[in-house]
């Protein structure tokens, strides 16, 4: 036997025996509050195949390369064509990602704690540590930009302000996913859909755009993260395979897969679509193209194609998810720009060339959105002819803010403002808005599972009756000088909006759900 073979035998045996360290407690059986409805086989394939003796040195080497490369990039950054439009977009994206990692870490911990299968438990325990690594890296990146970017404050306060602004709502739902009762459902949503379908979209594909826009640092961090995500995908696949090995699971599994694809899209596509299509100066592919490549072809086509022999069908929601992916970013960009005083980044509206590019990628885009973007080009400077928020209300046509979905927090202007599928309904005496039939269905299902569940108070419900300037002040969206707004509708450093500027063009937030309810007798709105 060669020395190499002896080493391999030693590791393989220790690895196999490490899985035998789990046992079924009999003196005291833990009462899990996260028991699964699915039937799991006692043993299955090992997704990680790692021992800490191998895992720790490998992660350490990745850390050294990643943090070393960030330091190296700093020395070269002055020679790169770093685009402010791109860096500004990270003020929102990085805190969102951090939030998602926390949710993923808790999900993995619940799976490690509760799944009656040693292979899946071991894989998920390692993922817990990976997720800590990820949010540490993302916080490192936010601190990097706070230290070195020309406009540091939103990076220095992004995590603190994430719940105070209007742009973080939909993605924050992912953290809440870890409160969903069934751990297998969590794995389907989090590992099989979010990490398999969507981490390539963010951590792999976005690196091209970042690099094209002069940012070497973000790709360095993201690609290191993605090297871990590949293992997390294995966790999701191993869980799916384990669940599929028990035929009785199939109907429930199909429901979770169908819902998971739609749910994740509603949480992520608006943000990703805005990031890809509205945050780059030097462009590569559109979000629609990226989504088609990674989610439609790779995930839905290849990934599910391999599972079809086991009875799992392509998600029935796939077409609806695709349509959403191609449209949500535009609605989100419109909404975020119209409400820019309630954000933390300096936005750069599409130029005429950008509009041409968007039309080329999304035929019909200009007819849908062009008028708004043409109008607001004259509204970016303070003391000029007005505020983009008024232009948004004019564009929407009824003079009202759009309702925010009580399930996913998206603005109910999906798939487009003119074709909105919003529904405002009274459920258990409370008026609620839903952006899609899916969100209405999800809410009703959650309500059935947990009758005591309270609906969320949306941003507009929370600040109903307050002016924009009052909200900016109360939510802490002013800079250190106490007068300049954190968010800005342009990149020009010489014409920053102040609270006084906003007051001259102020408007009152009026919750559209309340207004709707008031037109109906005996209505109750979310308190």
């Amino acid at each position: 036997m060669t020395a190499q073979q002896a080493t391999a035998d030693r590791i393989n045996e220790v690895h196999e025996r490490s899985k035998d360290l789990y046992w079924d407690p009999s003196y005291h059986v833990p009462q899990r509050d996260t028991a699964t409805m699915f039937k799991l086989p006692k043993r299955t394939k090992d997704p990680f195949r790692h021992l800490l003796r191998l895992y720790a040195p490998s992660q350490q080497e990745k850390d050294e390369r990643m943090y070393g490369s960030v330091t190296d990039a700093l020395s070269r950054v002055g020679n790169r064509d770093l685009q402010p439009r791109w860096v500004e977009s990270l003020k929102v994206s990085l805190p969102i990602l951090t939030l998602l990692e926390i949710g993923a870490g808790r999900m993995a911990a619940i799976l490690a704690d509760s799944l009656d299968n040693p292979e899946l438990r071991a894989g998920n325990m390692a993922q817990v540590v990976d997720e800590i690594r990820h949010y540490n890296m993302q916080m490192y990146l936010q601190r990097y930009w706070a230290k070195h970017w020309i406009d540091p404050e939103p990076f220095a306060r992004g995590l603190q302000l994430k719940d105070k602004t209007i742009g973080f709502g939909p993605a924050s739902g992912l953290t809440q996913l870890s409160a969903v009762a069934d751990p297998i459902a969590m794995s389907i949503n989090g590992q099989a859909v979010a990490e398999t379908a969507y981490t390539n979209v963010i951590f792999t594909a976005v690196t091209e755009i970042a690099a094209a826009n002069g940012d070497d640092v973000t790709p360095t961090v993201f690609l290191s993260i993605q090297s871990d995500e590949a293992r997390h995908m294995s966790n999701g696949y191993a869980t799916l395979a384990a669940v599929l090995s028990e035929p009785e699971n199939l109907p429930m599994l199909q429901i979770q897969v169908d819902a998971g694809l739609r749910r994740l899209g509603l949480m992520l596509d608006g943000w990703f679509g805005t990031l890809y299509d509205y945050s780059a100066t030097h462009r590569t592919k559109s979000y629609g193209e990226i989504w088609d490549e990674w989610v439609w072809e790779d995930f839905i086509g290849t990934y599910f194609g391999r599972l079809e022999p086991f009875g799992l069908q392509m998600p029935s929601t796939a077409e609806a998810a695709r349509h959403h992916a191609h449209t949500a970013g535009h609605a989100n960009a419109l909404f975020n720009y119209g409400l820019w005083p309630l954000g933390i980044q300096r936005l750069d509206p599409p130029t005429a060339a950008d509009c041409d590019w968007l039309e080329s990628k999304y035929p019909g885009w200009y007819a849908t959105y062009g008028a708004f973007w043409e109008t607001i080009r004259d509204l970016t400077r303070p003391g000029n002819s007005g505020l983009a928020t008024h232009a948004l209300l004019d564009f929407l046509g009824d003079g009202q803010l759009p309702a925010l979905c009580n399930t996913c927090s998206n603005a109910c202007i999906l798939p487009t403002p003119k074709e909105s599928t919003v529904r405002i309904k009274q459920i258990d005496g409370v008026w609620l808005a839903f952006c899609t039939d899916f969100c209405e269905f999800s809410y009703v299902m959650m309500k059935q599972m947990a009758p005591g569940m309270l609906p969320a108070q949306t941003f507009f419900q929370r600040w109903d009756g307050h002016s924009l300037s009052e909200v900016v002040q109360a939510a802490g969206l002013l800079r250190a000088d106490g007068k300049t707004l954190m968010g800005q509708p342009h990149l020009d450093l010489d014409h920053l909006w102040t609270l006084d500027d906003l007051r001259t063009a102020d408007m009152e937030i009026r919750d559209p759900v309340r207004l709707y309810a008031e037109r109906h007798a005996s209505a109750t709105v979310v308190p």
């Binding site: 045996e13 800490l52 003796r53 325990m125």
Partner: protein, 345 residues
């Protein structure tokens, strides 16, 4: 302004004045440490979440009997974040791997007497389940902790325990490869059925079944580890190994003790935070004292069940128990929880 920052600003024009570090963190020292910057307040405050308040909160306050005005005020004194923790783990594992290679090359395994080797097989290998069980319990505790800084410390301890369990498996393999009579199986049946280990298994299962995340941490780090962990691994196996010509088990046990020391340290700081809480300090002291009173006799039962092991190893059971009780008393004094006179002899 640094030259590097100036370089960035050349590309983007002049800068907007503003803070250059996370203003929402009050550092424990003079400046925000890397650990604080990258860990603190990452876990969201759910009251601010705009999504439906689901069937249960993600981090419900009533997951523990303890109360704290600000759980985020805790700091790990070792300041461990992912990079420093992984580097430490890697260093520990490389060290153990080198020690194992050296022991093989130098013939140190051959110097271990057969009786001691058999005891290692019977006791140390079986104790891997004990460590794995604590890892399992700590996983539940860390994910329910209401603040990231506590959860991270708990997650790292859970991995410490997993790592020691795996190190025991590597050691078992190496002892067998050296021809020592340590037994071929992983001692699963001993853990599940051998009467000698049932008190220990019952204790670990009781901890795993505990639903109060803080009770798990306090029990493991103020009762089980200082008493049972140090008794078995330090007073019996580490001390007596030297007597039996065993120079190979010691390095593993010392690394495990190094982890233990770190984890007990942060637990002392956590207790201090809880006891000094202006509103809840008094109630917390009552809860913590009750837990100590409930769990110490359970650990005592396990200690007594290991008396034959100490005898077999040639250790003085009573002296070993006295030593770990002294250590625990010092720990509890440091935490401010109990004066030394209150600790049972």
């Amino acid at each position: 302004m640094t030259t590097r920052r100036a370089a960035i600003q050349q590309r983007g024009g002049e800068s907007i004045p503003g803070p250059r570090d996370f203003v929402y963190i009050t550092p424990r020292g003079r400046r925000i440490s890397e650990y604080e910057a990258l860990t603190l307040y990452v876990q969201p405050l759910e009251a601010d979440s705009p999504t439906p308040r689901a069937m249960r909160s993600t981090w419900p306050e009533d997951n523990t009997l303890l109360r704290c005005g600000d759980w985020f005020n805790f700091r790990d004194p070792a300041q461990m974040w992912s990079r420093s923790y992984v580097a430490r783990q890697a260093e520990q594992e490389r060290s153990l791997e080198r020690a194992s290679e050296t022991a093989r090359a130098a013939g140190f395994y051959a110097r271990i007497d057969d009786d001691w080797a058999a005891l290692l097989g019977d006791v140390y290998v079986t104790a891997g389940y004990f460590e794995k069980g604590l890892s399992w319990a700590l996983d539940y505790a860390q994910m329910n902790a209401p603040a990231d800084v506590i959860g991270v410390a708990g997650a790292f301890q859970s991995i410490d325990k997993q790592r020691h369990a795996e190190d025991i498996l590597f050691h078992h393999y190496d002892l067998r490869a050296a021809g020592l009579p340590v037994g071929d199986d992983g001692r699963r049946s001993a853990w599940l059925e051998d009467s000698q280990f049932q008190p220990m298994r019952e204790l670990v299962e009781r901890i795993i079944a505990t639903r109060d995340w803080a009770e798990i941490i306090i029990t493991v780090n103020l009762v089980v580890e200082p008493l049972l962990g140090r008794y078995l691994f330090n007073e019996v196996l580490l001390r007596q190994g030297a007597v039996h010509g065993d120079m190979t088990t010691g390095p593993i046990l010392l690394e495990a003790e190094s982890d233990r020391e770190r984890n007990l340290d942060w637990t002392v700081d956590l207790v201090e935070l809880l006891l000094t809480d202006e509103v809840h300090g008094g109630d917390n002291r009552g809860v913590l004292s009750t837990w100590l009173e409930q769990w110490t006799p359970r650990v005592d039962v396990v200690l007594e069940s290991l008396r034959p092991v100490a005898l077999r190893a040639g250790a003085d059971h009573d002296a070993a128990v006295a030593a770990v009780r002294d250590g625990q008393a010092t720990l509890l004094e440091r935490s401010g929880l109990i004066a030394s006179a209150e600790v049972a002899p």
